[in-house]
């Protein structure tokens, strides 16, 4: 069962991490590369991906990081989380990045590297 936080359409390849993301501390706002080595997606870029992660953590300024990523053309095309947090929700709202929440079972079954389409207006949000 999905919940829509920010509406929109997007398609791309899934980049999935099981680590909650501290956008301010762990993501390079110019390139979208994860620069905290404790992440399982260390050195990977979130640019143009459908980013799947449990939820955001840490600094409230992470919302600006999401907005900066979008302005620098380094943002994910969509974000899918298991739990909503205000930093990611508000950052996506201002940056116009579609964002949805999915259940734990759905989260567990999403496969890294797979191509996916998101349409929050459609009956089947994820395809």
């Amino acid at each position: 069962m999905s919940k829509i936080i920010v509406q929109g359409k997007a398609k791309g390849v899934i980049l999935k991490t099981t680590n909650p993301i501290n956008f301010l501390g762990a993501v390079d706002k110019n390139t979208g590369v994860i620069h905290d080595q404790k992440y399982d997606i260390f050195k990977k870029s979130i640019k143009n991906t459908v980013l799947v992660f449990p939820h955001g953590i840490g600094s409230s300024v992470g919302a600006y990081t999401i907005y900066s990523l979008k302005s620098n053309n380094a943002a994910p095309v969509a974000m899918i989380c298991q739990k909503a947090d205000l930093t990611v929700a508000s950052g996506c709202a201002l940056a116009n990045i579609p964002m949805i929440i999915i259940s734990k079972d759905e989260f567990d079954s999403i496969e890294n590297g797979k191509y996916i389409q998101i349409d929050t207006e459609s009956e089947e949000i994820l395809n």
Partner: protein
């Protein structure tokens, strides 16, 4: 989330672009937290002031927003990158200074109080218990909920800004009665110092959801309380703690002992010495400056020691002469900025920094890009002064 007719009209853009953006943000954060409505708030504390954190796009966003938008409730703001009174002693980039000036001016133009502090609770008397506020700075939100009796969620930079503009926040999570935590963390360390409390906070942030009980702690001093708030806000989503020794209602109990502490310590401490010292993240309050001046009596630092406090607190401390001993000991007392993401620490000429702040350690390592030597204040003074 249900919106009133007025709120819906603003969301549709009938009251201008700024309000439309603000309601778009509140709708997303309301949906994210399953709020049923928006409620009035009395005070917003905004983050997103340091040019290092918000960058060119943030600067531009605020400049445009400030052209026609004013805050409608009391609003305070987080630290900037540096102290405008102390730019010449540090090697700061001219472009950085100009961008920072623009960000500062945008906030002032919107009508916020120029506090530039992560510790608004050290500057103003807190409003009455259960007052709804909207605090973005994580340590301040945790302090407000846990020690100040106020109600806020762990707001984001944009949700607090939207609240400052509209005077409203989604009614959800910690804003409501009865959202009691199910987890208790049992503090097992004897005689903990402020660093131990910072590490406990970082641990709690990792394991707890939105709130947590902490048992085995008798009322710690303000320095330790602030360290706990700072650590907790850095590592997770938890925005409230309660000291309580009754844990029979908790379905989950987790111990924080030597082993757990060492694990967090090893994650954050990456050096056994520092090229310079920073004190203050969160910024030091009056009581902490008073303590520091006593601890430094007759001593001088052997290397640069940066002491961060808000401008309001520095003024008070100067008039009470607390700063005399601190100045004499060779410290730089800096206002309007703090350890986290300050350009005053340049990774090109600094390999490592000594601090007692767990929050500072995380951002020094991950954002500034230097190694960190973590130790309690008493040990810093013992090791680094003559």
């Amino acid at each position: 989330m249900e919106l009133t007719k007025d709120e819906q009209a603003a969301l549709n853009g009938e009251k201008g672009e700024a309000l439309q953006t603000a309601y778009r943000i509140l709708l997303a954060t309301g949906e994210a937290t399953n709020a049923e409505k928006l409620i009035p708030i009395k005070w917003a504390h905004l983050s997103g002031v340091n040019y290092n954190t918000i960058g060119d796009s943030g600067e531009e966003f605020l400049r445009k927003l400030s052209e026609g938008t004013k805050v409608t409730v009391k609003s305070t703001v987080n630290p900037m990158g540096f102290d405008f009174d102390h730019t010449s002693e540090y090697n700061l980039d001219e472009a950085f200074i100009e961008k920072q000036r623009s960000i500062r001016d945008s906030y002032i133009k919107m009508g916020v109080e120029p506090t530039f502090s992560c510790t608004p609770y050290d500057i103003y008397d807190l409003p009455e218990k259960d007052t709804q506020v909207s605090f973005a700075e994580s340590n301040a939100a945790i302090f407000a909920n846990s020690l100040g009796g106020l109600r806020t969620n762990k707001e984001s930079a944009f949700s607090a800004l939207a609240s400052a503009i509209t005077g409203k926040s989604p009614y959800s999570d910690l804003r409501k009665e009865g959202n009691e935590t199910q987890m208790t963390i049992r503090m097992k360390l004897e005689n903990p110092n402020e660093l131990d409390f910072g590490l406990l906070g970082f641990f709690a942030g990792k394991v707890a959801d939105t709130s947590v009980k902490i048992s085995g702690v008798s009322q710690p001093d303000r320095r330790s309380c602030k360290a706990l708030c700072g650590g907790m806000g850095t590592s997770g989503t938890c925005a409230k703690f309660q000291f309580s020794d009754e844990d029979e209602n908790s379905s989950e109990k987790v111990d924080f002992g030597k082993e757990e502490m060492n694990k967090i310590f090893d994650e954050l401490n990456t050096s056994d010495k520092g090229d310079l010292i920073t004190l203050g993240s969160p910024q030091l309050g009056l009581e902490e400056l008073s303590d520091l001046s006593k601890m430094l009596k007759g001593k001088s630092f052997r290397k640069r020691c940066m002491v961060f406090c808000s401008r309001a607190v520095q003024h008070q401390a100067r008039s009470l002469k607390y700063t005399d001993e601190i100045d004499r000991a060779g410290c730089d007392i800096l206002s309007d900025c703090c350890t986290c993401l300050t350009p005053l620490i340049d990774p090109n000429n600094t390999d490592s920094v000594t601090t007692n702040s767990v929050k500072g350690a995380y951002y020094l390592k991950n954002s500034t890009g230097v190694d960190v030597n973590l130790k309690p204040l008493s040990k810093i003074i013992e090791d680094e002064t003559k």
